[in-house]
Assembly symmetry: C2
Homo-oligomer: 335 residues x 2
DNA sequence: TTGTATGCGTTATCAA
DNA sequence: TTGATAACGCATACAA
């Protein structure tokens, strides 16, 4: 696939490449007629500057990398949607890579994407990432970096997250006010920021309403396909009257499990879980959910990253942006 | 963000860049000791070849472009998942762009991605694309191109699709055998390949079982948010006993509409629609669905595109690959 | 106003 | 076995 270059134009028009380059870039001192000729020829032959050559020269790629655990997870695909919207508007391309919840894969993918000279990186940590030295290194080298959703305390950096504490708090508060006392919690992996914050919100709500905390009511759950069913089975034995699913992905599988078991919701069991608005609207039965701002998160994170890349003063100091979740009450969870 | 280059290694080791390059590439004639030194230094300082420089030299980017209508649609995100898996394994990156079902946006996005010198393009047409001269032009220029899911008859090219005819046929057959006669069809836009094939399957099944075709039972539906409810309302007036939703995306909104109206499924109304396996498993009520092989489609399309890019003989002649859909019967639709 | 030369990182060709 | 040089496409400092 041969594409026309500056050289081709120069040859065709009997000019030097620099003249052509200047004409194309609308440089200050250039003969109007020459410019016209060049532009005309360029247009006619569909000239487009080779971004690879530009990247090499300017040491930038006008592309950002996005590392997420799974694309085919509605939270992340919705977030990517938000990222893409911003990137597109600001003239950047999006290079996507999945860690598949694996630490090793995450490290390799980040290395590859960085090797491509992306101008910055948006990352949501894999479920098995606890060591983040690979990211610290990049931050130290000055690569613009914005974490979203699954962040790490071990690095001082730009972060965009949902207000998981508040989200969990209000969900538990709602359940307590509906007369629920034994609220089981199915959480994601314990070291993840989202898990910790949601657990904190859970505990805070219990404490505020004088409901005793029972360790037995908490289970952590990996991403394996049969994990949720097993863990919910464990929790079932503790005879809870409500189930708080502290993870987007688990909420959906839990729903399937409870249906499979024929458990009457919300009477027998009030299910409440994190998810994103689109999923809640489309798929969920009319149960109460904590809606996460997935699109907005992608949107905000990408905007911040691009500000950072373009050295906008607004993005100078590290900040953690917290986005509101929304408690969508769509059916009484009254006992 | 400075990264170490061949030049840096050469300078540090008092060698020429060509020697270093040869040592790194394990070239034929090179002193074992020199090689050891270079490799050691490279490893220690995390040398990685600059893919942009390579791209410029080799006139290839090792990146493929993917143009889809919407990322945050489970069919496409699942397909992208399949694409990414293959691309990753074969050393390519994936640059993603959404047309948002707009022809204009599709044209612009394709232009941009091609300007990035992607080595090939995977495309699923926007809902409003009828003129495909922008793609013909690229194909003529020799850019490797593979269409998937939403393809066009107007171009002779590699295509990967679901067997929409058969899928629709078996769904309608199933409904008829369950005693349904007035099967309404909610279709996507009429010019889309998927719509036409599914409609053909619908008609063929009716005809085979001697059920008269009634134009009144067909409605075409754009992607606007309130369209499905309106169109289903229209269809409702024709007093159907089953509803065949010939589109992934519409299936979900239709489900929501029917629930909202409190219609008893599947007794009063047998709903059957195209969707993908993951969605069917997780979200769908136990209704019969035509499961689309989204992941597999991405997988197959990406593999074919990369074969094409790498000029594997298997990919020489144009072919249309049809993937089987699966009728997942999970509750009796018996009248 | 235009042309020449240089460099971005890498590899291939040719010379030593 | 190693080094010098050119080339990929572009922009720019400098020369004319």
């Amino acid at each position: 696939m041969h594409t026309v270059t500056i050289k081709d134009i120069a040859k065709a028009l009997n000019l030097s490449t620099s003249t052509v380059s200047r004409a194309l870039r609308d440089s200050y001192e250039i003969n109007a007629e020459t410019k016209r000729l060049v532009l005309e020829y360029a247009h006619k032959h569909h000239y487009h500057p080779n971004p690879i050559a530009l990247s090499l020269k300017e040491n930038r790629s006008r592309a950002i990398g996005v590392i997420v655990p799974e694309i085919a997870n509605s939270f992340f695909s919705e977030a990517i949607n938000g990222i893409e919207a911003i990137a597109y508007n600001r003239g950047y391309h999006v290079i996507i890579s999945q860690s598949h919840e694996s630490y090793e894969r995450e490290v390799v993918n980040i290395r590859q994407v960085v090797a491509r000279r992306v101008d910055g990186l948006l990352i949501s940590l894999s479920g098995h990432t606890t060591d983040i030295s690979h990211l610290k290194e990049l931050a130290d080298k000055g690569l613009p970096l914005v974490f979203f959703d699954r962040v790490s305390d071990l690095i001082d950096c730009h972060k965009v997250v949902a207000d998981n504490f508040k989200g969990a708090f209000s969900a538990i508060e709602h359940l307590i006010q509906s007369g629920r006392k034994r609220i089981a919690m199915l959480a994601s992996l314990p070291w993840l920021s989202i898990t910790q914050e949601r657990l904190a919100g859970y505990k805070a709500a219990l404490s505020q309403y004088g409901v005793p905390f029972d360790e037995q009511l908490i289970r952590y759950c990996d991403f394996g396909a049969d994990e949720p069913e097993k863990k919910i089975g464990d929790l079932w034995l503790t005879q809870p009257d409500a189930l708080f699913i502290a993870s987007d992905r688990l909420a959906l599988s839990s729903l399937a499990v409870l249906k499979k078991w024929g458990i009457d919701m919300p009477t027998k069991m009030a299910l409440i879980g994190f998810t994103n608005a689109k999923v809640a609207d489309l798929f969920f039965p009319p149960l109460t959910v904590i809606s996460q701002p997935a699109f907005e998160m992608g949107h905000v994170a990408a905007d911040l990253l691009l500000d950072l890349i373009e050295k906008k003063p607004s993005a100078l100091s590290y900040q953690t942006i917290k986005l509101e979740t929304q408690l969508i009450i769509r059916e009484s969870t009254q006992l």
